[in-house]
Amino acid sequence: MRQRSLIAITAALSAGALTLTACGSRDSGDNGSDAKGGTTVTIGIDAPLTGDLSALGLGIKNSVDLAVKTANKKEYVKGVTFKIDAKDDQAQPSSGQQNSTAFVTDKSVLGVVGPLNSSVAESMQKVLDDAKLAQVSPANTNPALTQGVNWQKTKTRTYKSYFRTATTDAIQGPFAAQYVYNKAKKTKVFVIDDKKTYGAGLAATFSAEFKKLGGKVVGTEHINPDTKDFSAVATKVKNSGAQVVYYGGEYPQAGPLSKQIKAAGAKVPLVGGDGIYADDFIKLGGASATGDLATSVGAPVETLPSAKQFVADYKAEGYKEAYAAYGGYSYDSAWSIIEAVKKVVDDNDGKLPSDARAKVTAALQNVSFDGVTGKVSFDEYGDATNKQLTVYSVKDGAWKAVESGTYNGS
């Protein structure tokens, strides 16, 4: 009896091991040139596909998938078939880094779209840059990623392979401050952040501009993104006499935070950045989220003529999840890589050169095309040249655009 169960376990284990090996070999078999005589180029995707931020992450993945399908359908780059390789970072820097290593190892990957979180980007940049592998983020807004940690004094670009289509918090925070102070006429603000790269950076740029305009920061708090209980913070907000709360962080915390602040009796709007501009914010914030504000990069995709085709194609593909806040930017990020690949292939008589990665990265610097979100090109730091932002407000259970514009003055 004992022996028989031992045999059963061994059999099960070896079957499992075989399955695993099979998976591995299939993966590597897919890479490189395929039987059709053409070349397969993989565009990597790194985004949170599960967990709290998956609503945004899946929108990124689907939009890149759409770009790749469009390029293949049009045979946009002769002799090259694109495919995607989407990896889940669960919004964790450590997972992002592992994914980067995997992308570097896979020789067919010539560009990576993502990640969503600035903190994840920090952990990926060096790995990808060492391999000269281009990375285009549709969503990172922390200025330090492109302009170095001392960006307020001296801007220096640390990683030549990192680009982004979203504008930065150096613009987003002050843009929100100007709206809140000049247009909404609020002078007392309570600033809360989640201490992460994105949230803390955004809160800092907002506070600086708000104070410069003449407003007063009546209180600051840092919350722990792992908890759901913000009652102690909400009580502090209520007793501070603030007219508005600015939150630097993302919607999984912002929704409950907004709800608990209002429940505590502080009837003040919560304002945040693109990290809270998601339908789930309204779902989590409940009815009391009405009147809350968010700034987000670019103009609303639905209103742009350049985006009509994207919105229609996205619908036609029948993706289960919405393209969410970064859909347009993700499509443009993927397309900028496709444009760069096209340039490299065209320059090399229709074939991929052996140092394709470095060439693609170099070509990215000079791409320029009309994308979903408008003109797409990158400045000397790898930042988007398109610096438009929009203020949205929660009305009747949905985000409604209030005002679009570009930040002026500094």
Binding site: D52, D229, S231, G255, K259
Partner: protein, 310 residues
Amino acid sequence: MNELPQQLVNGLLLGSMYGLVAIGYTMVYGIVQLINFAHGEIFMTGAFGALTVYVYILPDGTSMWIALPLMLVGAIVVAVTVAVGAERFAYRPLRSAPRLAPLITAIGLSLALQQAVWAWYPEAKSARTFPSIPGGPFEIGNVTIQTGDVFLVAAAPLSMAVLAYFVMRTRTGRGMQATAQDPDTAKLMGVNTDRIIVIAFALGAAFAAVGSVAYGFKYGQIDFRMGFILGLKAFTAAVLGGIGNIYGAMLGGLVLGVAEALSTAYIADIPGMDKFGSQSWADVWAFVLLILVLLLRPQGLLGERVADRA
């Protein structure tokens, strides 16, 4: 200092929830000396049980007066089933194994339960909204109590009273005390220790289920990871109160909750401490408190029994 009463209430409410979950840790530890690290996930499955009753079983628009008791039943049925199943299939086979083996099983089980809900519960990949109790908040003086918290205010002391009665006054309860003191002698005296252990698991799960419904009402949302941090806090509360002691679990929970609320509210006002006062430091202060208590009173606040055994 006019916000002190409100902050105390915030802390007590949070603490009551820790306490409800901590009871499960303490009872199981008291009887089999096992730290059931999957208890936080049992709490989580309870919340999904309640949600299932509300969303998929009851017709739309059912009054909360009818829905609430049924949701509680749903939560308790699911949590108890999971807990008893875990005891039967994950812990009982390892009862005579070294202490470390069931501990590792517990951690594995915790991950497995999280992933199971993540994979199979509809739309559980991100947070799901939980129904709310209608009505506005109550104001008592300058203290506001949310409608969602009213359930917690009523449920926590009531649960404690029921538990105290059960353990002190019933035959099974006395059997539990006997098993906790000395399982071998209890067995010789005719106590069915296997049954007592199952009851300890089931009872702990039932209290966690009540806590999970309170969590849903309080925050308006539940997700597959909600049990992890809360379970860790509840475990801390159980140790703080003296693991093995059911009153200690509740007291530990309350102390922990109040410590978190007050540290968020006031530490920053102490000169030179403004960097360490925000809510993101609340957990740190909670653990500082735990360490202090354990240094001065290694058995925890009310934990005499553990000291007796040692």
